[in-house]
Amino acid sequence: MKSELVCFWLAVALYGVSTFSYIFGLIARYDKLYLVGLLSALAGFLPHTASIGLRWAASGVEPFITISESITFGVFMAVLLFLVFQLTVKKVPPLGVLVMPTSFVLLGWAGTLIKEVATSLNPALQSAWLWVHIVGATTGFASVLIAAGLGLMYLMKEKDSAGIADRLPELSVLDTQSYRFVAGGFIMYGLMIVSGAYWSNTVKGNYWAWDPVEVWSLVSWLIYGIYLHLRVTFGWRGSKLAWYSLIALVVMIVSYWGIPFSLETFHSGFRIDHS
């Protein structure tokens, strides 16, 4: 097997270990398992990064063109942001309970879709906008995933399910943190849409064509725009918004990799046939 694939599946395996550590840690109320979860996430992140790097180096094509590459890159950002958040800013030990299973399942799914040969993007489409666009989309996803994770923590602390309460910061802190990640994700989605519009403008001469992928990105942006208004103009707080962030996450995953990719090919408007 190619070393790229070895790294990839090693990462999936380690994220699997991390997933089970978090979930059993929660069920068994055994806190040390959270640490095991965090460390195995960290351990999996290294081969994950390596597999992206190896594929990129071998093909010379940006590592986010096909669906499996796109998911792999999105999960990469999510785990990266999760690790940075856990290791530096705020310690919320059980946070991985949502983040790691999601990452594990998505990455495993990406693995079943890997194509040996890298599909090259029409070289003509390459542009710095593409990077801004993808980084916007993936960090946006990473932020709202963590926001949803914090939302879940909020709901669990509120009920004190699995005796989790004293492992977690104050409810109000969780609430604010979750909101901040949504706000950050909202900006990143904004960046994704703006750079996409610019990119489309240089390539196709228009900024918006109600192409399915464009509409899906508008959907993500509106969903979090509504979240922000519920909070800022209607004063929603706490568990209602926590539920909202969890449901929105599902829509996010579907809107990114579920429907647009399976029914329509990636940005159908960007396929350029030169006869």
Binding site: N122, P123, A124, L125, Q126, S127, T176, R180, A183, G184, F186, I187, G190, L191, I193, V194, A197, Y198, N201, T202, V203, K204, G205, N206, Y207, W210, P212, V215, W216, L218, V219, L222, I223, G225, I226, H229, L230, T233, F234, I259, P260, L263, E264, S268, I272, D273, H274, S275
Partner: protein, 380 residues
């Protein structure tokens, strides 16, 4: 004075003063009601949710071109968008009015203002835009302001063709064009403008030409064969450039032939007083550009399309530049050129739309920055 107090005053007034004032002020009340309606935050939410639902429906239940027809291009959907803008204008700015300007509220104002500006520009653009596809063979020149120059076009209600100045010439199509090592595939060397003030530029996928607010973008290209009819003595009687369609074959190779996108077909030849129904196909030489073999099929002329299964009166092939004899005449593809289809666009609202996207993004970042600073100061 609240509405209840006012009603009470009116009640009292009714019993005490003459002549009786009308109890109901439709003229005052209606604008007030309209304003209250437009400025309500609930309406904002309802609209955002409604648009969200339409978007979701437009990518799941109906999709693609169907979604465009049944949702995104309709009057009611666009009316929803316009209502949203009016609502932002009344609701947001009504609330932020007189409030002290802080970093947070400044960012919000910027954001919502850019949203309004963007929509105004979108509406303006939709009234004045032009989008057409211009097909040119190498060496050919077409007038930009003549609607007949375009294969097809769409325009805003108030667009006028006089806005499109000058003429467009395709100087040359360049295959395998490279810019700093990157393969841009096809590039068109074009010249646009009025005589004496022409601009010439090589355009390719990420580089388009802008002439007086009109953009020229590469779209598609193909071969065009100069078909010449000669008599027995070799005297040329008629010649015409015939654009060839590229048809993808089952083995993924391409066949270049007359006809339409749907399939190969014949055409009357010569065009003015036809002698034949002619079908031409071209197989490019893999090495040498603009050469290769040309296949001819000839039927005695009759109106309408010749069915593909009908045997031709004469059929054969000849390399580019060589003659093929068909009855009393000879036919030749004297040379192969390229034709290109260019996308010509005029979007007068676009600079504002694109700029307001950035302003909006900046607004969001400023608000967030303000919130973070406030949070750190321990007040948030």
């Amino acid at each position: 004075m609240t509405r209840n107090e006012r009603d009470e005053v009116e009640l009292v007034a009714e019993t005490e003063s003459f002549p009786v004032e009308p109890r109901y002020h439709p003229i005052h009340r209606i604008p007030r009601m309209i304003y209250d309606f437009l400025a309500s935050a609930r309406l904002a939410m309802a609209l955002l949710v409604a648009i969200l639902v339409c978007c979701l429906a437009g990518v799941t239940v109906v999709r693609g071109a169907q979604a465009w027809l049944t949702i995104f291009s309709t009057l009611w959907f666009n009316a929803l968008l316009v209502l949203l803008v009016v609502n932002v204008a009344c609701c947001f700015f009504g609330r932020i009015w007189h409030r002290r300007i802080t970093v947070i509220s400044f960012g919000m104002i910027l954001f919502h203002m850019s949203f309004v500006a963007m929509f105004l520009a979108i509406v303006y653009d939709s009234l004045f835009f032009f989008q057409g596809s211009l097909r040119l063979t190498e060496g050919e020149t077409l007038q930009n302001s003549d609607p007949h120059s375009y294969d097809g076009y769409r325009q805003g209600r108030f667009f006028s063709f006089s806005r499109l100045k000058g003429e467009t010439t395709l100087v040359k199509m360049i295959r395998g064009y490279r810019v700093g090592g990157e393969d841009k595939r096809a590039a068109y060397d074009v010249e646009v403008g009025e005589p004496g003030h022409k601009r010439r530029e090589v355009i390719y996928i990420t580089n388009n030409l802008d002439y007086k607010g009109v953009k020229y973008l590469p779209e598609k290209e193909g071969y065009s064969a100069l078909i010449v009819l000669s008599d027995k003595t070799g005297k040329e009687l008629y010649g015409a450039h015939v654009p060839l369609q590229s048809l993808k074959q089952k083995d993924n190779s391409y066949l270049y032939t007359t006809g339409t996108k749907e399939g190969a077909g014949s055409f009357p030849f010569p065009q003015d007083s036809p002698l034949y129904s002619l079908q031409v196909a071209y197989r490019p030489d893999p090495v040498k550009d603009r050469s290769g073999e040309v296949f001819f099929q000839v039927w005695p002329y009759r109106e309408g399309e010749i069915p593909q299964q009908e045997q031709p009166a004469a059929a054969g092939k000849a390399p580019v530049g060589q003659h093929f004899s068909a009855g009393g005449h000879t036919l030749a593809a004297k040379e192969i050129r390229y034709w290109v289809g260019m996308n010509v666009r005029h979007d007068p609202g676009k600079p504002v739309i694109l700029a307001s996207l950035w302003v909006g993004l900046a607004g969001m970042i400023i608000t967030t920055f303000g919130r973070m600073r406030k949070g750190r100061a321990g007040k948030g």
